[in-house]
Every structure is written in C-alpha cells, then in structure tokens.
C-alpha cells in the first residue's frame, strides 16, 4: 500500500500545494485506486528532504513530484511517459521544469505576495495545521515565496544573478520620503503592480496555451506527466477563491483554452470537489447533499496526528539551522551509500579535514583573543593583585614607598608607613578610611 502524504485540501481542491496536486494527478492516472491512500498530513518533516508531497512505500520515503514519478517508474517499470519519443520526453522535462519554476512563482505571487490573499491563506492553513504550527508555517512559506519571487516584479534588484551575490545598499532608500498625496500614490502603485502581475501571468499562460495547442492533452490524446504538472499548477490558479483574484481573472478572460482544458481533465485527475472539513474530520466517504462524495472520490485516509512530536521536531530543526548545524552533509553522505568507492571516501575525508581546519582556525582565533586579554591582565598585574595574598595586604596597608631597593624592604617600609600613618592621623588605610577632623589636614594644594 502506497501512502501519499500531502499538504491538506483547500478551495475544493485536494491540496493547497501545486506539487501535491500534480502528484495526486499522477497517482490517480497510474495507480489502481485500491493500491494507494491519500493522507493530508501537512507535515513536511516526514520526508527525508523535508518536503511534501512524500510517498511512503513500506519503509521507503520519496518526496517531490519528480521523486515520486521516478520511484514509481522504477517500481512498476512503466510510467505515463512511456509513449513519448526522445524529443518529446526532453520537451516534457523542460516544460515540466518551466511550469514548476515559472508557474510556481506565479502562484507564489498570487497566493502569498498579493495583499489580502495571504490572509485567506492563513485561514486555510488554520484548518490544516495544529496550533503552534498554524501560526508559524504560513509566515515561513511566505518568506520562501518572497525569496523565490525576488526580481520577478522588479521592486528591488539583487545581485543574485551572478553567484557572488550581495544585496547592495540602495541610495534611493534615503531619499524616499512620504509624499503628501500618499493615497493617490498607493492606488497608482496598485495599478502599476497589477500591470506587472498581469504581464508575468500572461507570459506564463501564453506559453502553456501555445504548448497545449488544440489537442485533448499536451501530447495528443493521452495524458503525460507534463499534463499532471500543468493541471496541478493551473487548477490552483483557477479554483483558488482569493479576494484579489487577478490570476484567475486573467485566466478566465484571456486564456479560455487553458480553463476549458483544466475543467475537462480535473475530474479525471484530481477528483471532484473536495469538502475540506469532511476530509479533515475523516468523513471523506460521506455523501454531500448534492449527492457527491465529500472526498471527491479520492482514497483519503485520516491523518495520524502526532502534533507535539512533529512540532517539536520542526522547531528543533529550525533552531539547528539557525545555529548553523544543517543536515545537508548528513543526507548527502547517507545517499551515497551504494557508490561508496574509495574516491568518495577520500573526498569525504578531505572535506572533513577542511571543515576541521576551518573550525580549528576559528577556535584558534578565539583562543588567541582570550589569551591576549589574559596576557594583558597578567602583564598589567591586575590578576596578581586579585589572587596574591601579599598583594592583598598591600592594598589594605595603603600606598607607600620605602627606602629599600628590593621587594622585601619595600614591604617593610610599607608596614612602617602604615604604622606611622595610623599614629599620626588615626588612619586605617584606605579600606577603612573614615571622616577625619581638621587636625589631620596640613596643607591643601589645588
């Protein structure tokens, strides 16, 4: 039995993530309904790469759309793309990547980065996630979306294109001040933003529409993995009911062919409308008043909720990332198990040596600084004064100078001084110094 773990359902679609939708579509087209179940666990920690969708087959976990189809291809020795020739396969791969990249950014822009829409999304996640995570996760996803869309709508330019990226301080930031006609500015800004959004959307949708042509599916009459991707991404754009629905409007208004394509294949690939509440409460097989299944005909399984462990795990993971311990190397090494040649071993050793060297250098720098500090303390004598018993006595005895040349005589002189000072002025050294009368004062200078 295959278990497909996904981000949970929303907007009558079985998932809120386009990758999850595409994977559902692929499984629905290739696997008999009894051999797999769909679990809206919304828990990315399940998969080794911390991503959803993730497919569990016994003890094996694979994640991501590509990971899943590759695994299923190896397992079944057949896939959706078997009928395609080499050039078509290359094209399917390229366009698939194009959809994932450009379509993904378009959805990011529409769902996470458009004012108003994100608030709705928060509500969606609230239905999918346990309590602490539902406040935390949307923010994380939004940050990631913002990073991905950096430069798409050119508000700030970044140096990312050349690798040695480094954001530059923008001189304009200083001069940008609030202007009197702020309201008009904002609405003008909104209009300009809209124009840019539509431009981005048109670029993507035109490309997909021209790719689709007039056929039933992208490559003729049979669906391919590329169709799964296209439907996954487009359906979220088309069916997500967002307050600022520029993407959806753009699709409906000018890309009718895409809409009809998605509408046509939706039932076959993603099931009928999904009732989120029913699915999340484990009543996917219940029929709705309209006579349809609440789960849209998909093999839903209830979520095994282990909220506390996974939320803790997640937070721990984040904390480790912040501290700088990442699991990259671990997974990287673990994956190479089968090709553990001597060369790889040597490389790992070399890498470790390099890492150790860097750590050693950092430690050396810290030790050096601390050493220099302690050295100064010793040199200046402040340490000796703290720990030396004799030194303490000196302090208590007040300051003085002797006639003698060496230390012992100095101390003798000091003792004398201490005694005589007391006899004359009634002083007990500076430690016990008290108010004194005029009689002790001889002359005052300055």
């Amino acid at each position: 039995m295959l278990e497909l773990h996904i981000w949970g359902p929303s907007f009558t679609l079985p998932s809120i993530s386009p990758q999850s939708l595409s994977t559902i579509a692929y499984l629905r087209l290739t696997q008999p309904p009894t051999t797999w179940t769909l679990i809206p666990s919304s828990n990315p920690l399940l998969s080794p790469s911390r991503e959803l969708p993730a497919l569990r087959d016994g003890a094996t976990w694979v994640s991501g759309f590509r990971g899943v189809i590759e695994y299923l291809y190896c397992k079944n020795d057949s896939g959706l793309d078997d009928a395609l020739d080499g050039a078509q396969r290359a094209e399917a791969f390229a366009f698939g990547r194009y959809i994932e990249s450009e379509g993904g950014r378009l959805l990011d822009l529409s769902m996470y980065l458009t004012d108003g829409n994100f608030d709705v999304l928060r509500g969606v996640f609230a239905k999918l996630l346990p309590v602490p995570a539902r406040y935390y996760f949307p923010g994380v996803l939004r940050r990631e979306a913002r990073r991905r869309c950096d430069g798409l709508i050119p508000v700030t330019s970044s140096a990312s294109a050349s690798g040695a990226a480094k954001p530059l301080p923008q001189p304009t930031a200083m001069t940008a001040t609030a202007l009197p006609g702020a309201k008009e500015q904002i609405s003008a800004k909104g209009a300009a933003e809209r124009i840019k959004q539509v431009a981005v959307a048109t670029g993507f949708l035109q490309t997909i529409q021209s790719l689709l042509g007039e056929g039933r599916f992208i490559f003729g009459d049979k669906p391919s993995s590329l169709d799964c991707l296209a439907v996954g991404y487009l359906s979220l754009g088309l069916y997500a009911e967002l307050p600022n629905g520029w993407l959806r409007e753009e699709m409906v208004a000018r890309h009718g062919r895409l809409c009809s394509y998605v509408n046509e294949v939706r039932g076959r690939m993603l099931g009928d409308g999904v009732d989120v509440t029913a699915v999340m409460s484990g009543q996917a097989t219940m029929t709705t008043p309209s006579g349809k299944l609440a789960g849209g005909g998909l093999p839903w399984e209830t979520v095994e909720r282990k909220d506390v462990p996974w939320v803790t795990g997640l937070l721990l993971n984040r904390a480790m990332e912040i501290v700088g311990i990442t699991c990259t190397e671990r997974y990287g090494d673990g994956g190479d198990r089968e090709e553990k040649t001597e060369q790889m071993e040597g490389r790992r050793i070399e890498a470790r040596r390099l890492q150790r060297w860097e750590t050693a250098r950092n430690v050396a720098a810290v030790v050096g600084c601390v050493g220099a500090f302690i050295g100064y303390c010793v040199w200046s004598g402040s340490i000796a004064m703290e720990f030396g018993g004799k030194g303490k006595y000196e302090v208590a005895g007040g300051m003085g100078g002797g006639e003698g040349d060496d230390d012992v005589e100095n101390k003798m002189g000091l003792l004398e001084g201490f005694g005589s000072a007391e006899s004359i002025l009634g002083l007990g050294g500076r430690g016990t110094f008290g108010p004194r009368g005029e009689d002790g004062r001889d002359e005052v200078i300055e």
């Binding site: 990547r97 480094k166 890498a351």
Partner: protein, 297 residues
C-alpha cells in the same frame, strides 16, 4: 532660495566672474579612457580580459559569447558586482563620441543587453527567443544547471576553497577573502535552497536534476549545429556554452566533478562547445589541455 531682482549692472558684473577660466584638469592615471569601443564590465582575470578570453562567470561568458555572435566589437574590463548599476555583472559602458568631445556615456545593464547587442550587431539567422520552447529550455539552464553549478563551485568544500575562493573572493589579505568567501557561500546556499523548499541540500539530487537537464538539452540539440535548428548561434547557444565551457575547463577537484562528468556524457554538447570555442574564442583553453582534473591536490 528666494530670487531677488538684481540690477542689470550687478548681474553683468557677476557674470564676469570667474575672471579667468583655464581648460579642465586632466584625469588621474587610473581613470578609464574610452574610445568608441564599448567596454563589457565582467568577472575576468586581467590577463584574460586583455587576451579576449572567456570570463569565468557563466552569465558574463554568456553575454561575451552573444556579443561575439553578433560581431560587436568590445573589450572586457575586469570588474565586480559593486560596480554594476543593477548589482550584477555584466554591463556595458559605451561611448559614441570620443572622450575629448563629450564625457557622456551610456551604461547598459544586463537586463537590457540582449536588445542592445541585437541593435548594434550584424543581423543573424536566429530563432525567436520568445518561443515557448526556448523559454522552457532556458529554465533548465538558468535553474537546474545553474543550481548545480553554484553547488559545485561554492558548496563543495574543496572547490569552494580553490576555485570560488580564488576566482571571486581573491584579496591580498586572507582574512578578507575568507570573509568574502563565507558571504558568497551563504548567498549561493540561499540561492540553491530556493529550488529545495525543505531546506535540505542533497548533492545527489542537485546533480541528478542537472544531469537530467543536460540530457534534455542534449536531446534537443540532437544532430543540429545550433539549438532549435538556427542558422547562426543565438542566445540559447550562448547560455548553454557559458556553462558547458566553464564546466569543462574549470579544474574541479576529483570527487567534486560530478557536473563535469555529466557534460562529458553528451558528445553533441561537447561538439557544440568546441564549435563555439573555435569560432569565437580561438585563444581559449581547450578542455583536453586540462584533462588531469583536480589532480594537483
């Protein structure tokens, strides 16, 4: 400032100042002197820049190649990201008139380079870069291939020290270069992570994705001379060449050269790289000359 009415005689008296104006001070020695040849500010070693050799940065090399395809004469000026108007190299400074006539210069940032080059170069028989296919395959180069390139260059421990550190973060003071390298590594990591939302960088997966991308690109090229059946090399050819040439020529460390091996699998891509190198960068290193890769350590 409030402008007060000034009596005519005072105004003419004012206008007579300064009493004497000499010709302008000449610029100090280091200041660049521009002829009519446009300058491409790019990552390059000073020697390579003089010899017209390829840059060691893929996006700079892409535009270098594209300029050469169009027969635009230019000279390469070694530079860095701080110099660029957009924060990223390359960019072009061109001057229509000679320096003595006017100090006006035109700065062309990288996002406007394509149209600038097409405008200033000869006409070529190239395919439309706006076609759906080109767009899709460009994504493969700019995402999968680039991520793997960044990973191999910055995040593989030995490569980052010996290649990225030397090429991009060179400074005469090791503390500064290691600080710069650390910054660059963090930036590269951030960049690659965009494609892997889980926050886990699995090199196997990154290289496998790049391998699949190369496979698709190679299939697309097939037996053609240039991509998509163009009569002359175009922007896509330049993009692919920028990566293949550098992947083949960099002295990767043994064990960290997965990307190199992936390119070597595709004979037609090797041929494509060689065709462009022979035709447009005759002085450039040949990959064969560098065959014992990363073996110096």
């Amino acid at each position: 400032m409030v402008s007060l009415p000034i009596p005519q005689f005072l105004k003419s008296l004012f206008d007579s100042f300064p009493l004497r104006t000499y010709p302008a001070n000449p610029l100090p020695s280091r200041c660049p002197k521009f002829g009519t040849t446009p300058s491409l500010y790019a990552f390059a070693t000073p020697e390579d820049a003089v010899a017209g050799n390829p840059s060691f940065n893929p996006s700079c090399l892409k535009w270098q190649a594209y300029l050469k395809f169009y027969g635009v004469e230019f000279k390469t000026v070694p530079s860095n990201n701080h110099a660029s108007p957009t924060g990223a190299l390359p960019f072009i400074i061109s001057q229509q008139k000679s320096m003595s006539e006017s100090m006006e210069v035109e700065v062309v940032p990288s996002d406007k380079l394509a149209s600038w080059i097409e405008e200033h170069g000869c006409s070529l028989d190239v395919i439309d870069t706006d076609s759906a296919q080109v767009k899709a395959f460009l994504v493969l180069v700019n995402n999968q291939l680039r991520d793997a390139w960044l990973y191999a260059l910055y995040l593989e421990p030995n490569n980052s020290q010996d290649l990225a550190g030397k090429l991009y973060c060179g400074s005469s003071v090791s503390a500064v270069s290691s600080f710069l390298l650390r910054q660059a590594k963090a930036a590269a990591r951030q960049q690659v992570l965009q494609a892997y939302p889980g926050g886990v960088l699995d090199p196997r997966r990154i290289y496998a994705d790049a391998g699949a991308a190369l496979e698709a690109i190679s299939t697309m090229l097939g037996k053609d001379t240039w991509f998509f059946g163009g009569g002359d090399p175009g922007l896509f050819d330049a993009s692919v060449f920028a990566y293949t040439h550098l992947i083949l020529n960099l002295r990767w460390h043994t064990g960290e050269n997965t990307l190199f091996r992936a390119v070597m699998e595709h004979d037609n891509l090797l041929g494509h790289e060689r065709r462009i190198r022979d035709a447009f960068f005759p002085e450039a290193n040949t990959p064969d000359a560098n065959k014992p890769l990363g073996s110096e350590s």
